[in-house]
């Protein structure tokens, strides 16, 4: 697949044509979760009986090593629920595949924190969606704020440096960004902000919880001031239409530089697109991950030139490139039109249209009890992985 391909140009031009292996690979190890967050991207709760076995997971890691996938973002569900999770973490690191895993923190005991601080090439992301228990626990469930803070305390006490505090920005917590930053700083951790997606159970709460237009503008300014000291995983590239681009690569990496493996080995275009429409294949049925990544029809399609559609005539199209594919899909908007949170307001008419149909979920692992107090488990990778990213000029990488 490396032939007949133009060299040079911007990195974005290159990335849109796809890579031999993903840069950012999210791997949901299990749909099982002790929580049931209202905005869970993967509608997690119950374990899927078809979950990959330990041996099958090891084979995936072997393949990632051969493809030189430098690190994997592990999530779920709550990945630490798998009894073999710590083994798989060690196995992965021993095979030159670094691990960044997302957790709600319940199982990050003082002993586990000590163990983690002795293990190289492991990053821990603790999910926290409110800087106060009231706001956090309303979304993630009772006791989850305390659990996350305890996990961060345990990590800091064990000398684990640079844990990540992973926050999904919502209408309810958007005014707490400074407080989140303080929590991270107090624990020697780094703040990581990501975008609320209308994926999974997120579809049920998105209308009420996605930041307002004013909050989006404030967030953009806050992120610009914070610079590279706050991570976003390129989550907010749709905000680039407000002015200068945020640090990182500003493009949709789905199927190009990013993808997701789910607990049963299904491969989806991105972490926010667990739906049949974006299912590229299955690692057990299709002979492994590499064939799916390299040959699936869906990924080939995503790597071919895309039309800007209704956005083509917009002055900001070169900045935001139409925004997030998954956000459009799960809000029932056309994929070649504006993002539902288009900062130019270009999606307002479409969102208000009476005929808009939200696609039905194609799978759901929620527990029956999750309709009242829903929350979301730790979620991995949110996006493209391109922070930390060093913009280098000339012969080396430039950012568009």
């Amino acid at each position: 697949m490396t032939s007949a391909r133009p060299l040079g140009g911007s990195l974005i031009d290159q990335f849109e044509l796809g890579l031999d292996a993903p840069i950012c690979l999210t791997w949901e190890l299990t749909y099982a979760c002790n929580l049931s967050c209202a905005h869970c991207l993967s509608s997690s709760g119950k374990r899927d009986p078809r979950e990959l076995t330990t041996e099958q997971c090891e084979a995936v890691i072997d393949e990632l090593q051969a493809m030189q996938v430098f690190y994997v973002n592990i999530g779920g569900g709550e990945p630490t629920i798998r009894p073999d999770f710590w083994h798989l973490l060690e196995y992965s690191v021993a095979h030159q595949v670094g691990v960044k895993f997302s957790t709600n923190g319940f199982r990050i005991t003082p002993e586990r924190a000590q163990w983690l601080s002795r293990t190289d090439y492991v990053d821990v992301q603790v999910s926290l969606d409110g800087a106060t228990p009231e706001i956090n626990d309303a979304l993630r469930g009772p006791g989850t704020y305390a659990a996350a803070l305890t996990a961060l305390d345990n990590l800091a006490s064990a000398g684990f440096t640079d844990a990540k505090v992973s926050v999904v920005v919502t209408r309810e917590n958007a005014h707490q960004l400074d407080d989140f930053k303080r929590i991270a700083d107090d624990h020697g951790a780094t703040l990581r902000l990501t975008r609320l997606r209308p994926s999974g159970r997120g579809a049920d709460v998105w209308d009420d919880l996605h930041p307002t237009a004013e909050q989006q503008r404030d967030l953009y300014r806050w992120l610009m001031d914070a610079g590279e000291g706050v991570l976003t995983g390129d989550s907010f590239f749709h905000l680039a239409a407000l002015g200068d681009p945020l640090p990182g690569l500003n493009l949709c990496g789905a199927g190009r530089v990013v993808c997701l493996i789910d607990p049963i080995g299904d491969v989806y275009a991105c972490p926010f697109a667990i739906h049949d429409r974006f299912l590229a294949g299955n690692i057990l049925r299709d002979g492994g991950f590499a064939p799916v990544w390299r040959e699936s029809r869906l990924f080939q399609e995503l790597r071919s030139p895309q039309s800007g559609g209704a956005c083509s005539s917009c002055s900001a199209y070169d900045s935001c490139r139409g925004g997030c594919m998954a956000a459009k899909f799960f809000t029932g908007l056309p994929l070649d039109g504006p993002d539902p949170e288009c900062v130019k307001g270009n999606s307002e008419t479409a969102l208000a249209a009476p005929g808009r149909v939200i696609p039905a979920a194609s799978q759901d692992h929620s527990r029956p009890s999750t309709t009242i107090e829903r929350e979301r488990p730790a979620h991995a990778c949110d996006d493209s992985p391109l922070t930390p990213f060093i913009p280098l000029e000339s012969l080396i990488a430039t950012r568009a």
Binding site: Q14, D20, F70, L386, P388, I390, L392, L395, I396
Partner: protein
């Protein structure tokens, strides 16, 4: 003082892996988790040729890089040193 980077025997940092890609290569430093994109196949050849014993000039010559382009390559290598992707062996030794 007349010694320049061209005279130095550079090497790829031990914690860095290179992954070839159609546009060049990705370089990932497992230590500081930094990812860098090498945008030109010629630069990838040069970086792969660094062995800690030959000078950068020798490697550039071996890779067939025309001499008038050496300053551009030298500048890129300086940046890769700043990004801790490439090491000056003397410094690496001093750090251990």
């Amino acid at each position: 003082m007349s010694m320049t980077i061209l005279d130095e025997p550079l090497s790829l940092s031990q914690s860095v892996s290179l992954r070839p890609e159609p546009f060049g290569a990705l370089a990932y430093n497992f230590g500081n988790r930094r990812l860098t994109f090498l945008k030109r196949p010629e630069l990838v050849s040069v970086v792969q040729g660094l062995d800690g014993s030959r000078s950068l000039a020798e490697v550039l010559a071996d890779c067939g890089i025309p001499e008038h382009q050496w300053p551009v390559f030298a500048e890129s290598l300086e940046r890769l040193i700043d990004a801790e992707m490439i090491e000056r062996p003397a410094l690496a030794g001093a750090r251990d």
